[in-house]
């Protein structure tokens, strides 16, 4: 059973560009969350998708947007990249029903903005 997968592994962009990161959830999961982890920091919640809609959002600007597809996979898009967007971007999947929706994390995409 494949866990959460993310692509690409690494990415280098320049300021002002746009980037798209991809995530495939663990089999059986229907909810995808995205996190940004800056160097030396803990992950910060960006947003969560369920039933192809954004359900919850953290304190991130509108430059960060996402999408969820019918097969539950998801994309994170970041426009007008800033140097401060350099980070590890983590995707986590979960099954919505239950007392607590335990999240399973992927290995992340390392984004470097030059």
């Amino acid at each position: 059973d494949a866990g959460v997968t993310q692509s690409p592994t690494h990415l280098i962009k320049t300021r002002g560009q746009q980037v798209t990161l991809r995530c495939s959830p663990k089999s059986g999961h229907d909810t995808v969350s995205w996190y940004q982890q800056a160097l030396g920091q803990g992950p910060q919640f960006i947003f969560q998708y369920y039933e192809e809609e954004e359900r919850q959002r953290g304190n991130f600007p509108d430059r960060f947007s996402g999408h969820q597809f019918p097969n539950y996979s998801s994309e994170l898009n970041v426009n007008a990249l800033l140097l401060g967007d350099s980070a590890l971007y983590l995707c986590a999947s979960s099954f919505r029903r239950g007392v607590y929706n335990e999240q399973f994390f992927g290995p992340g995409t390392r984004l470097t903005v030059l």
Binding site: Q41, G42, Q48, Y50, R55, V99, F105, P107
Partner: protein, 116 residues
């Protein structure tokens, strides 16, 4: 708003020694608490979680944590550390969001270094 403090940025222990990683949280209601481990190049793996009930929680890889409401703490312990335990450890508190899911708020992490 909820928050997590991990006061130790780095912890160094010798292999075979005991370990305690500290975590303090701030949350207005009954907290859902977690410890995750992150090895280089890998995502976060859940070690253990506390929702309610017994305040001493057992996790994977021989780890345990104790919830102390009076101290707002959820410290992680292991009686004998192995070299493979060297990693980054994150404490998190889960809060119910507007979308109906629990979203973890993470501390900044504690880096565990294990000497042979």
């Amino acid at each position: 708003a909820q928050s997590v403090t991990q006061p130790d940025i780095h912890i160094t222990v010798s292999e075979g020694a005991s370990l305690e990683l500290r975590c303090n949280y701030s949350y207005g209601a009954t907290p859902y608490l977690f410890w995750y481990v992150q090895s280089p190049g890998q995502g976060l793996q859940l070690l253990l979680k506390y929702f309610s009930g017994d305040t001493l929680v057992q996790g994977i890889k021989g780890f345990e944590a104790e919830f102390k409401r009076s101290q707002s703490s959820f410290n992680l312990r292991k009686p004998s550390v192995h070299w493979s335990d060297a990693a980054e450890y994150f404490c998190a508190v889960g809060a119910l969001g507007a979308g109906g899911s629990y979203i973890p708020t993470f501390g900044r992490g504690t880096s565990l270094i294990v000497h042979p």
